[in-house]
Structures are given as C-alpha cells and as structure tokens.
C-alpha cells in the first residue's frame, strides 16, 4: 500500500508510543521470554532423555567402539573427504543437466496440437519409465550396460556413467515438478499474455515460466538435497567416492566409524541447502504479505 503523494495539510501528528503500547510490548516480551524458556527447557529435557536411553542401553559400549571411535574417525576422514569431492563433483555437474532436461521434458509435455504428438508421447514415456525404475537399479543398468555395448566413444568412467544414470532418473522427477509448477499458474495469466499478442512460446517464456519456477524452487531444492545423497549410489560401480572410501576403511578394521565420517560430510552439505530453502520460502512469504515488497 502506498500513501498518496500529497503529504496532506492534515497536521500529521508524530507517533509517540502510548503508555498502553509500552505496557503491551512489555507483556509481549514477557510472554516471549516465558515461551522461549519453556521451549529451551523441553528441548534440553528431550535430548537428555534420548541420550540417557541410548547410553544406558546394554549394547552401548560395543556401539561406541564400532561406530564412534575417535581414532578411526580421524584415520578415515582424509580419505573419505577426498572421496567426497567426487560426490560433490558428480552433484555439481549433474544438477544443471537435470534442470535443463527436466525443463525441456516439462515443456515438451505442455505442447499442444496434434503435430507435437510424438514429442509429447516421448516425454510422457520418458517420465513414466525413468521415474518407475529404482535409482540404484538404473545405476547398475547404465553403469554395466553401456560399456557392454562396446560403442566407440561411449564413456567408460564409472563416475560419468553413474552421473548419467542419476541425470536420467532425477530428470524425470524434476520434469514433473516443473510441470506441476506450470499447471499451477492460473489460466487467466496465460489469457492476459495471449491477449497482448504474445505467442504461446512467448507467454510461456515471459509470463508462465517465471511464476512457475518461483513456485517450484522449494520442491526443486528438496530434490537437490535428495540428489546429493544419491550420489553415494554411484559407489556400486566402484569409483572411489565417499561411501566407497568408507567401505574400504571399515573392511580393513571391522569398524563402522568411517561410515559416520561419510554421513557427517553429507549432512554438512545438505544442511546449508535446507537453510537456503527455508530462506527462499520465507522471502516469498514476506513478499506476498500486505505491506511487503516495499
């Protein structure tokens, strides 16, 4: 809401907080403090109970030795970290490809007219097939199937093949996310764009997609987080990524702590992404609230 330019001869009174407001704010602060301390107390209590139950369980000394061994952790960590870079690389290269593939497939599905039937059918077939296959199965199929074809120029690096499998699998998911976003834009928006003389493609490009993409950013980031973890599936093809490194270390010593090291690394990457998602969602919420946007 904007105030009209006229700054009025309405003798604008300056705002001095009244006694009532000061009292109200004091009470708000007090209830705020009270609920904050209740929240803190209950959190601490909850954690104490959980830790107490775990630590007092009969198997805890064994578990501590095999899963939480500090020595093993620091032994394995450098190798696992080196492996983790490969995970990060797969993720960073696969993600843009997935976005492009997903968007293209979603757009292909939104094409109207009988001319485009083959493209539309192809897009539908792609999402049906690749969403249906469990990702780990797809990693096997691509990772062992493509080299077996003995095609000249086909990649044989397991990391590349694994990454390709992930792109195919996640591309199908992301395509559906995009399509949901495009469908969620009210038809009146398209009508307004077409009425201005924009073509089908132009109204998609300038009016529908910008709104759709903004809406699907949170679910897309959710898929990113999922992809980050699933880069570990590439381990079944043998490249030395984080999970594989952890497997090697734990096989040496019959100690599972290296897995913990890998888990810590994955968490360290997903948590910032989750906070970033929250931040975007909160910003979108603020913009829609009245008085926002200014």
């Amino acid at each position: 809401m904007t105030t009209s330019g006229a700054k009025s001869g309405a003798n604008p009174p300056a705002w001095v907080k009244s006694a009532r407001q000061l009292e109200r704010e004091r009470r708000l602060r007090r209830t705020g403090r009270r609920s904050a301390s209740v929240a803190t107390a209950s959190t601490v209590l909850f954690l104490a109970v959980v830790i107490g139950v775990v630590v007092s369980s009969p198997g805890w000394p064994r578990v501590r030795e095999t899963f939480f061994s500090a020595g093993r952790f620091s032994d394995a960590f450098p190798d696992v970290l080196r492996g983790f870079w490969l995970n990060a690389e797969i993720f960073l290269i696969a993600e843009p490809l997935i976005l492009c593939l997903g968007l293209l497939v979603a757009l292909a599905r939104s094409l109207t007219g009988p001319v485009f039937f083959p493209i539309r059918a192809l897009a539908v077939g792609y999402t049906d097939v690749f969403r249906g296959i469990p990702t780990i199965l797809l990693v096997y199929l691509v990772g062992f199937g493509v080299p077996a074809l003995n095609l000249r120029g086909a990649p044989s690096d397991p990391a590349v093949l694994g990454g390709a499998a992930l792109v195919l699998s996640y591309g199908a998911y992301v395509a559906e996310v995009f399509r949901a976003g495009i469908d969620s834009v009210h038809p009146s928006q398209r009508a307004a764009a077409r009425s201005l003389g924009l073509s089908h493609a132009q109204s998609l490009r300038f009016v529908v997609l910008p709104q759709a993409v903004r809406r699907v950013v949170p679910p897309l980031l959710n898929d990113f987080a999922s992809l980050q973890k699933d880069t570990a599936l590439v381990a079944v093809l043998g490249p030395l990524e984080a999970l594989r490194q952890a497997q090697i270390h734990s096989a040496d010593t019959f100690n599972y702590t290296p897995y913990l090291a890998a888990a810590v690394l994955f968490i360290a990457l997903t948590v910032p992404l989750a906070r970033f998602t929250d931040h975007l969602a909160a910003r979108a919420e603020r913009r829609r609230a009245p008085g926002g946007g200014t």
């Binding site: 809401m1 105030t3 009209s4 009174p13 705002w15 109200r24 708000l28 209830t31 008085g291 200014t294």
Partner: protein, 251 residues
C-alpha cells in the same frame, strides 16, 4: 456518539508498514445497527483500518474493543473475536476449490460446530434470499463478478456475525453488477446489521451511511452524518476530495 454503548470502538490506533505510517491515531465508535462508511483516496488507510479490526493486522499502538472486550489485548484469542465479525474483500477471496455451498458452510460447520444439515439448510435459505439458489453447486470461477461477490457476502453472513466489514466490495465490478451487490448491502442495513464499509461509491455512501468518515493519509480527518459530510464538509481537504470525485464522475 449515541447513548447506547459502542459495538466497536477504536482508540488511537496506529499502524506502520516499514516505518511508513498507514494509520495515525484513529479513534472511531460504531454503535449497534449503525452503518459507517469510510471514504478517502486510495492508500488513505481504509482497507488497513478494516484489516486491523479483523485482526488480520496487528496494530502498532492503541486498542480495539468489540462489545466492550479488547480484541488487541496480549494473548487475546483472535479466532474468537473473528467469529463475531464478518469480512468481505474487494477481490471476493472465495475458495476456488470449493463449490459455492461448501464456501458458505465451511465456517458454520468447522468453526461454529453447526450440524451439517442445519448449516446447509441455512446456507440455502441465504442463497435463496439473495437470488443465488441455482448456483449452490457451482464453482466460484464459473460465476460472474457480481455473483461471486454476493456469494462472498453470504459466506460472511452465514456465521451470523454481529459486525460486518466490507472492503471496497464493488470496486472490481461493473456498474450493472454494482447495483445488485449494493442492493444486498441495503437489505442488510434494513435488517439492522452493523456495518463498516470502505467504498468509492459516494452516492451509495450518502444514501446508506448513518455516519461517514473521511480518511486522509492515515488520519480520520472528519466524521459526521452523511448529509453533513456531503453537503457542508468542515475540512477543506474533505471538500477537495469530494470535488475531485465529482469531477471524475462528470467525465
């Protein structure tokens, strides 16, 4: 204002958005069965005032009382207050995924715990009264603007509120549809409903309002009986505003 205690009372209400004051010390009393019209330019704070009464906005200072109970008190239950207030929005705000009947019976059934059969019967009665009986099963997107706004009014009425807030309910409608909505509001007045309306329809305001309030840049500049405000406004700003509106009308 009158001998009867006010149904709605606003005392020194302030509201700021991003350190931009939108309401600046509003004092307003609304007696039972009184119809108050808020007039003023766009952005003068009419909508914000109504949203504050319905607690859709938290006030930055001052207090609002409904029937003597303070709505703005810390820890007061906003939902309880809202149960007694009906609100109608400029852009209808009907729920597009529900039929007209479901839109209307949602609050009676879920909030007021009216048995479904009773709620449906009451909704149908209201729809009948406002000439919408055949639209009960339609979805909002398939109705005309005037019909949608009438449904929105019925939805607000279905909970039997003691106060109705109407926020420029005819602004999005063409003149023909305006009359059908205005006639409903007139009927509400005759049934004794207490109402606060923000409106740009000066003729209608003059016709229906017991009291007219002129808002200017967040200040309640002038309050008085409709006749007085429209024929001999005291404030020069009010006169200026009405002049402008009159000129616009002539064009």
């Amino acid at each position: 204002m009158t001998e009867t205690p006010a149904l709605l009372r606003m005392e020194n209400v302030w509201k700021t958005y991003h350190s931009q004051p939108v309401l600046r010390g509003i004092d307003l009393d609304v007696a039972p069965h009184e119809v108050v019209c808020l007039i003023g330019a766009s952005g003068s704070g009419k909508s914000t005032l109504l949203r504050c009464v319905n607690l859709l906005e938290t006030v930055d200072d001052g207090a609002i009382y409904l029937d003597g109970a303070e709505l703005t008190e810390v820890g007061a239950d906003a939902d309880r207050a809202r149960r007694r207030i009906g609100m109608v929005f400029q852009s209808y705000n009907l729920f597009p995924h529900m039929s007209v009947l479901d839109n209307i019976t949602l609050a009676p059934i879920r909030v007021h715990r009216t048995p479904r059969a009773t709620a449906v019967a009451q909704a149908k009665e209201l729809l009948e009264r406002f000439d919408l009986a055949d639209k009960a099963q339609e979805y909002p997107d398939r109705l005309s603007g005037g019909q949608q706004q009438r449904v929105a009014i019925v939805r607000a009425l279905a909970t039997r509120p003691s106060l109705m807030l109407l926020d420029e309910v005819t602004s999005a409608l063409d003149p023909e549809l305006v009359t059908e909505v205005l006639s409903i509001i007139r009927e509400l007045k005759e049934s004794g409903m207490t109402m606060v309306l923000a409106t740009h329809e000066m003729g209608f305001a003059r016709d229906i309002a017991d009291t007219v309030c002129f808002l200017d840049d967040g200040v309640l500049l002038e309050t008085g009986p409709a006749e007085q405000i429209f024929t001999e406004p005291r404030e020069p700003r009010t006169r200026e505003f009405l002049q402008r509106v009159l000129e616009a009308r002539r064009i």
